[in-house]
Symmetry: C2
Subunit: 249 residues, 2 copies
């Protein structure tokens, strides 16, 4: 069964990098001591790898950044766990396609390699990056992404502000535009706050669920799709076309 921890933001306001969701990451890694890091969403690869290293040292793990590997595919094949960092989603996906890593990452995750994603790293775990907030600064060969979960994510989701005079499209309107052209459900992940950070996607024999705590997840999908919002602290999405029961019912 695939194991994914897909978080919206890597840093909470005022905190250090990955600090606010450190506990969830420790739980998730289940003792993996070496984590392969994918820094391609940012431009400064060395700087990004150093920042990730510091964060993982705090929890007793070591980062190997894939950009320093002699062979990217061999690095993926041998990884204990994968962390795909945030930044520009389109740049990140472009690198994943051009390095030929879409297939090997997908296969290793299906075989059980833990996948930790933050922001852009959560976006590329989905069916496509068509619900990213990022500018398409690079033209990737395809918008299709890793497809590790059967839906799309919109990180840093923000509710419409009824008092706004900005006149740009709201996030909700943008997701509605996505659904004018595409079918997959979209999970809007609000930015996590200290102490209540993380979502967990477990696509498996019982179906695919996104579990989000506190003020985290909003389901934005056409009304015809099944979705639940159990309570403030727990919201679930049953993916389209699946008939398994909610594990919390």
């Amino acid at each position: 069964m695939s194991r994914l921890l897909l978080i919206s933001n890597s840093t909470a306001s005022g905190g250090a990098y990955l600090e606010y969701c450190q506990g969830e990451i420790v739980d998730f890694l289940q003792g993996s001591k070496r984590v392969l890091f994918v820094p391609w969403a940012l431009h400064d690869l060395e700087g990004y790898a150093s920042k990730a290293s510091e964060a993982f040292e705090r929890i007793g793990s070591t980062i190997d950044s894939i950009h320093n590997a002699a062979d990217f595919r061999i690095a993926i094949e041998g990884a204990e766990a994968l962390f795909v960092g945030g930044g520009n989603t389109v740049r990140l996906l472009d690198r994943l396609h051009r390095t030929g890593l879409i297939e090997p990452i997908g296969r290793r995750v299906k075989d059980g390699m833990p996948y930790l994603g933050a922001s852009a790293g959560s976006n590329v775990a989905c069916l496509s990056i068509r619900t990213t907030n990022d500018m398409p600064i690079i033209q990737p060969p395809s918008f299709d992404a890793l497809g590790l979960v059967p839906f799309n994510i919109n990180p840093h989701y923000i509710d419409p502000d009824p008092g706004s005079t900005h006149m740009g499209e709201t996030r909700e309107k943008r997701i509605r535009e996505f659904h004018e052209e595409n079918d997959p459900p979209v999970v809007g992940l609000r930015s996590g706050s200290r102490g209540a950070p993380c979502g967990w996607a477990e696509p498996g024999p019982r179906g695919c669920f996104v579990v989000a705590r506190n003020r985290w997840s909003t389901v934005r999908a056409p009304i015809s799709r099944s979705c639940w919002e159990c309570d403030e602290k727990l919201q679930l999405l049953r993916s389209a076309g699946q008939t398994t029961n909610c594990p919390f019912e």
Copy 2:
């Protein structure tokens, strides 16, 4: 000489569609009575054409929407003036590529056909749509756009909010990511307000200038590029590599 009026938002808070910049549109059209409308940024083409028709009736012009034309290319060849409406920029550009209209629109604008763009319609007048805020809901054959001006626009530009705890990238940071991968200057167009709406780009023998009134335009480009901010009411961008003088100096 090309004549373009590229505006950030088609509607000001609390106003009717195109109402706040009606005066500038009248000046710009210089008596054109029939305007060809491109509604492809939105899903509901008929509804959008009706909305545009109402707005242009107020100023004594008639809208013909291109989606009702028997032959799109013939419609472009015969148009007095063009209005490309806002919506999803990626969808709009996809339609322009797939209908083969990039070349004929570019040629007609270079020959003097007035080009009025709002939001997505302003984005596609630029070198590329790589600085759009919109979700890439469709994969276009290319991000390259009409190239009617030698820079990119970011509509609905908003300044970073120092008090924000949102943790998503600021607009400024996104444009910086664009410049990590691309060279062209980017003009951030703030949303216009009632009475002070419009920008005017005139690429011609004297160079290319963006003129923006009131709280309209911010130049976001690498420091190495030439730019001026003359005063609050008038901001100019001299495009990269050009040495013509500011027409207002």
